[in-house]
């Protein structure tokens, strides 16, 4: 997978999870940038991403990731499908 491909796929997951077709992710997107992205939605999002890319985040990552860019790094590292 390339970084571009992961971003594309991740975009789809976000749009589906938040039911919002206008979401466009960048390297520096954070929770504050998306209105519905609160702590409860965060975990639903994580689960959806894990299912899509066939991988698991560690709890350390779940609470520690700083932005979408970091998320993409981890997916590129451990994701098994797109």
């Amino acid at each position: 997978m390339t970084r571009e491909e992961v971003f594309q796929a991740l975009n789809e997951v976000f749009r589906d999870n938040f039911d919002d077709e206008d979401i466009t992710l960048t390297e520096t997107t954070v929770a504050d940038d998306i209105e519905e992205w609160d702590s409860l939605e965060h975990i639903n999002l994580i689960i959806a991403i894990e299912e899509r890319f066939g991988m698991k985040f560690t709890m350390k990552e779940v609470t520690g990731m700083k932005n979408v860019g970091e998320m993409v790094d981890i997916i590129l590292d451990r994701g098994t499908r797109i």
Binding site: I47, T58, M59, K60, V62
Partner: protein, 486 residues
């Protein structure tokens, strides 16, 4: 104590904090409680070392589970044994079996509910590799029993506190003064406001059915402000003393009564407790294979959106039951601090999209004008409904009180405390000052900086007024803090 801290050389500073903390613990509870505290410290210390040294994932998990169980056993035995006795008896009654268990009266060490959470969080952080295990047992001990936080929190994380506690802090006039200022502010809240309000609350709830329902409602609202003034005031004292030592503790309150929804309220009230339960309980539950399997089944049956919501609600229920039980091993806490709050939150989550559409059509402004205040009033009333059960001596009495509020309209007696006008004036003034300060803070103004920028002719009268009000409240002062019972 603060002076000694700054007089000692760098290396001796944190040991002095430890000595002071142990002394505080012994003075505030007793020598006999030390073994209980030591047990928790030793179990978690060795548990963390064990987890860190183990490579194999399965063995690590086993080590984690054993450590958690051993730590919790103490908390459960000391605080929840009666809950089981009552439950067992109740169960026995269902089958007409006499369960010959007696209620026990065991004293628990100061702050056990709080430091247990801090220690469990530490062990979990070591397991998750968020923080390395602390090799020095005494430093580990200081983290758990650091005296400003041991009575009623805030619940801290080892990673955040390590830097604060073990790095020596050089003396700085500003720091000490700011800390003491905050402490004085907390003292003001507790003594001028909370202790006076508690007179009203106690009197009315002692004989709720002698008073008009409106009086009972009023007393409950008084309790809301009493609890807020006392708990957040206690936090101010704790944070202030700690700040004076150069150690910054995390905030526990963020003007909660300005919340427009219940969800927001629980992000602004007892913040560190909420964060702890979110990170160490909610997330693991929602991510667990068990719940996810259930989620997939629910999604298949009820559709994606409904299934997803239901799964979240189940996870939230487990969370809130745990929070309720943490507050107290009795039905009233399980209900009022647990299940009721869960219920509020899921209703709010379910209704939210429809309400958003409605207010869109009516062009309601959520941020300005009257709407926020209506929302805040609603939040206050919903929270007060739960407080009825907290003020009552049991869940059953709570239900009866609610019944009284709905039906006792023939009684018109209002409670009047035996006060001279000065007491009323001090309480009223205190509440007004608190409201103004919180309103300013909620609008983003740092009140202490604002005050320090005023001329001396404004600041000095303010300080003297504050001190005078505190002195005039000395007779009222009840030496206990409500949240220290946990």
């Amino acid at each position: 104590m603060i002076a000694v801290y700054y007089l000692l050389p760098g290396k001796a500073k944190w040991p002095w904090l430890l000595i002071s903390s142990v002394a505080f613990f012994v003075l505030a509870s007793s020598w006999k409680m030390i073994p209980y505290l030591l047990y928790g410290l030793i179990v978690t210390y060795f548990g963390a070392q064990w987890i860190q040294k183990t490579e194999d994932e399965k063995k690590r998990k086993t080590a984690l589970v054993i450590t958690i169980v051993l730590t919790l056993v103490e908390l459960v035995a000391l605080k929840y044994l009666n809950f089981f006795v009552i439950a067992a008896r109740g169960f026995g009654k269902l089958f007409s079996v006499h369960v010959g268990l007696e209620l026990v009266n065991i004293a628990a060490p100061l702050g056990i509910s709080y430091y247990t959470l801090s220690l469990l969080g530490y062990v979990l952080d070591v397991y998750r590799e968020v923080t390395p295990a602390e090799p020095n047992f005494l430093k580990h001990a200081l983290f758990a029993c650091y005296f400003p936080q041991i009575t009623s929190g805030p619940v801290t994380r080892f990673g955040e506190m390590r830097e604060q506690l073990f790095t020596p802090h050089a003396y700085d006039y500003e720091t000490v003064v700011r800390g003491l200022q905050r402490g004085a502010w907390g003292l003001f809240k507790k003594m001028v406001i909370a202790d006076r309000l508690s007179v009203i609350v106690k009197a009315v709830y002692l004989h709720y059915d002698s008073y008009a329902p409106l009086m009972v409602i009023l007393a409950t609202i008084c309790f809301a402000f009493e609890l807020y003034a006392e708990f957040s005031g206690g936090m101010d004292i704790i944070m202030g003393v700690s700040e004076a030592l150069g150690v910054h503790l995390p905030e526990n309150f963020n003007r909660p009564f300005f919340s427009k929804t219940l969800g927001e309220f629980w992000r602004r009230w007892h913040i560190t407790l909420g964060l702890w339960f979110k990170d160490y309980m909610l997330y693991p539950i929602l991510k667990s294979d068990g719940l996810q399997k259930t989620g997939r089944k629910l999604k298949k049956r009820f559709g994606k959106n409904a299934g997803k919501k239901m799964t979240t609600y189940i996870g939230l229920l487990v969370l809130w039951v745990a929070i309720g039980i943490w507050h107290g091993g009795s039905m009233k806490f399980l209900f009022a601090s647990g299940i009721l709050q869960w219920f509020y939150i899921i209703i709010s989550e379910s209704v939210q999209p429809a309400l958003a559409r409605l207010s869109g059509r009516l062009n309601l402004d959520h941020e300005h004008g009257w709407f926020p205040w209506v929302a805040r009033l609603r939040t206050l009333l919903l929270i007060c409904f739960g407080f009825i059960f907290i003020c009552a001596d049991s869940f059953g009495t709570g239900l009866k009180t609610v019944g009284w509020i709905l039906t006792g309209w023939n009684t018109t007696l209002f409670y009047q405390p035996n006060w001279i006008w000065l007491q009323y004036a001090l309480l009223a003034l205190g509440l007004v000052v608190l409201f103004i300060a919180d309103y300013m803070a909620n609008s983003g103004i740092d009140v202490r900086t604002w005050v320090s920028k005023r001329g001396w002719y404004v600041r000095w009268p303010m300080y003297w007024a504050l001190i005078t009000m505190i002195i005039l409240s000395v007779n009222f002062s009840t030496k206990e803090f409500l949240y220290a019972q946990f």
